[in-house]
Symmetry: C2
Subunit: 400 residues, 2 copies
């Protein structure tokens, strides 16, 4: 499998672009992804009861067809809690793109991200659409990735290439972070393109599987956004034998899609709001998946654990404490904790270890934390961040 | 009902003291409460699977008797994750007190608070016990309240007095904050003394009721400690007709106990780690208690809501967003939000309001936030704080 530099324009038959249309002062704020051939499309949405207008419109558009030709995305405004006007504006975004590119409005997915409850400056968006369409290019993926950023400090793109029966297949993707990150089925905005030929049912299943191993295993602050959406467009341009059953080719595709989504998910964590640490949290020997996940997220979402990592000091009692209040039955007296590969807690008791060695591990930007529950045989790894002064600064000053 | 200045020594027959025994450098770190008459005692414990050694010992002591004569508490060390030595040390604390005061070790409750996983400096504690006993006095409640502080900036005491059949009854209490505060049955350390005569069953029931209305309705950081304990000692010195049924006198007592615990709970929130805001969060017209509580704590525990209050700017989208992901079914489009008494969101849509008026409310130290769910008739008020730069500073530098 080869890793590439480009994102959503890496697969054949996809163009993209990004511009500033005036929602933000200078930065790019409007992105477009376009497939020359109508693509089989699967989508996962936020589980928040509060849903943005573009989520409502996109769901309606995909309801029957499961096909799309384009995705338009704006940043700087979530178009959420805007009532009827919100829905109208989201539809207008689709209509304008469809008329420029000469297909049905139902073939357009719409997404927004940014501040909640401020009316979308729709005129700026529709006015900008012409430029957006004109800029469409085979190298436009990076501009599109720039245009969906909110508090992200870097754009997030990933793609890879593999072969099915001698046909080259490519998957590309982009996503945004960087706060309000807590997985509930789907989290954040992520857009995946691929030129594979596959039926809708298997495309959706593969997406679900990959999201479960990636975006659903990260947490920055425990907040779930009303705008979350993960969409995948498969346009068949690779001309492989269409995947219609769970054969070897399906599993090849699944593996590649896992790689793309896991890498994108990790980029979100690495660029988490104010994050100074990337924490790989490995739960070993859990009774089952549910127990592993409950323990992992109790630790990952504890402000006290997060601040102890920010302080580069190991108040390990906070970790064992979070395991203790996680919502699952377990024998706390069997728990072992490793930092890096150093055993620091054995059977819930402190082990004497080399303080300087530990200090050095804590000063690294990437930290590996392993919890052995000795309850069964299930393993799970999730990714999270520390809680820093900058997280509070960023979020207490977010413009309203 | 009269409010008094003293805490645990306000009721008749109780003495208390506080000293520095050397766990901390200078500050008081060891407290004693003593009842001249063996007192009927009820206790609620943390629901964390990780339990401190003193919790284990106290449970064992109260198992049969439901009677106690003293409580010894140290701060600066949680005596948690210390294995067999932890249990021995907690027992030694009880034994030493019992021998000085000439009663059985089973009559002593033990509590600890502070860092997890560091062996208790038991020699300093037993050496200090003589001074602690010598200092016992009718005015010692304040010293005891000082000695149980951890990151608290002020001691927390409250008491009140009322009459039952012409007999004066007093309830006094003290507690500590100020982080790892999230209610699960009982939270934090709180010690209540009263001279009422009441049977064990009703004392326990009254304590449970009051805790549900007070300590269980606060949240600072969503972390639950392994050392939490709420104990009440009733020594009967008021000589009222013993309360043995749920008559008017019981309800009088319940009301007074509510007052003491609600005031103590609010003191914890006001002194929350790094807190700059005291937020009174009122949920109106919920379908039931469970829904009200789920919505309330989703808001109270959201780092994004907390930081927006710290920033004194109203990113109300974060509030409606937290309601949206709270774990309860509701129609988000019916939700109204009030800040102070200003309606800012009606039916999930922004209402135009006077920006300067709002700014002024946000700058106050006490903030009233009301959420009307329009789902039923249940009301609930909880208390919480903002998330400030100082919270992160305090918790990233907590000595280990």
């Amino acid at each position: 499998m080869n890793t590439l530099k480009e994102g959503v324009t890496a697969p054949q038959g996809f163009l993209a672009s990004g511009i500033n249309c005036g929602i933000k002062e200078k930065k790019f704020d409007l992105a477009l992804i376009y497939s020359k051939i109508k693509a089989t499309t699967a989508c996962l949405y936020t589980t928040n009861k509060l849903k943005s207008a573009p989520i409502v419109v996109t769901k309606e558009h995909l309801w029957k067809n499961k096909k799309a030709s384009a995705i338009i995305i704006n940043s700087g405004n979530a178009n959420t809690c805007n009532g009827i006007k919100g829905i109208k504006d989201a539809k207008a975004m689709a209509v304008t793109i469809a008329s420029y590119l000469n297909f049905q409005e139902k073939e357009v997915l719409v997404a927004s991200t940014g501040i909640i409850g401020t009316p979308l400056p729709i005129k700026r968006i529709t006015r900008g659409t012409k430029e957006l369409v004109n800029k469409l290019s085979e190298n436009g993926g990076h501009d599109a990735a720039l245009a969906i950023m909110t508090t992200d400090t870097v754009p997030k793109e990933y793609s890879c290439r593999f072969k099915i029966n001698n046909k080259v297949v490519t998957i590309g993707g982009m996503c945004k972070g960087a706060g309000m990150i807590h997985p509930k089925l789907a989290t954040t905005l992520a857009f995946i393109t691929t030129d594979i030929s596959i039926n809708y049912k298997l495309l959706k299943e593969a997406l679900k599987n990959s999201v479960a191993k990636s975006l659903n295993l990260i947490s920055i602050d425990g907040d779930t956004s009303p705008n979350d959406m993960v969409a995948i467009l498969a346009n068949g341009k690779a001309l492989n034998d269409r995947i219609v059953q769970k054969d070897n080719n399906f599993y090849k595709f699944q593996k590649a899609l896992d790689e793309v989504l896991i890498n994108l998910a990790q980029m979100i964590v690495r660029d988490g709001e104010g994050a100074t640490k990337f924490i790989k949290l490995h739960i070993k020997n859990a009774k089952n998946y549910s127990q592993a996940k409950k323990v992992a997220f109790a630790i990952a979402n504890s402000p006290l654990v997060k601040t102890t990592f920010f302080g580069e000091d190991l108040n390990w009692g906070r970790i064992i404490n979070a395991i203790g209040y996680s919502d699952t039955y377990l024998d706390i007296n069997k728990v072992d904790i490793y930092l890096g590969n150093i055993l620091i807690v054995k059977n819930c008791l402190k082990v004497s270890f080399h303080k300087n060695k530990l200090k050095k591990i804590l000063q690294e930007k990437e930290i590996y934390l392993k919890i052995d529950l000795h309850e069964g045989e299930k393993e799970l790894t999730i990714w999270t961040t520390d809680l820093s002064l900058d997280y509070v600064k960023i979020n207490s000053c977010y413009p309203t």
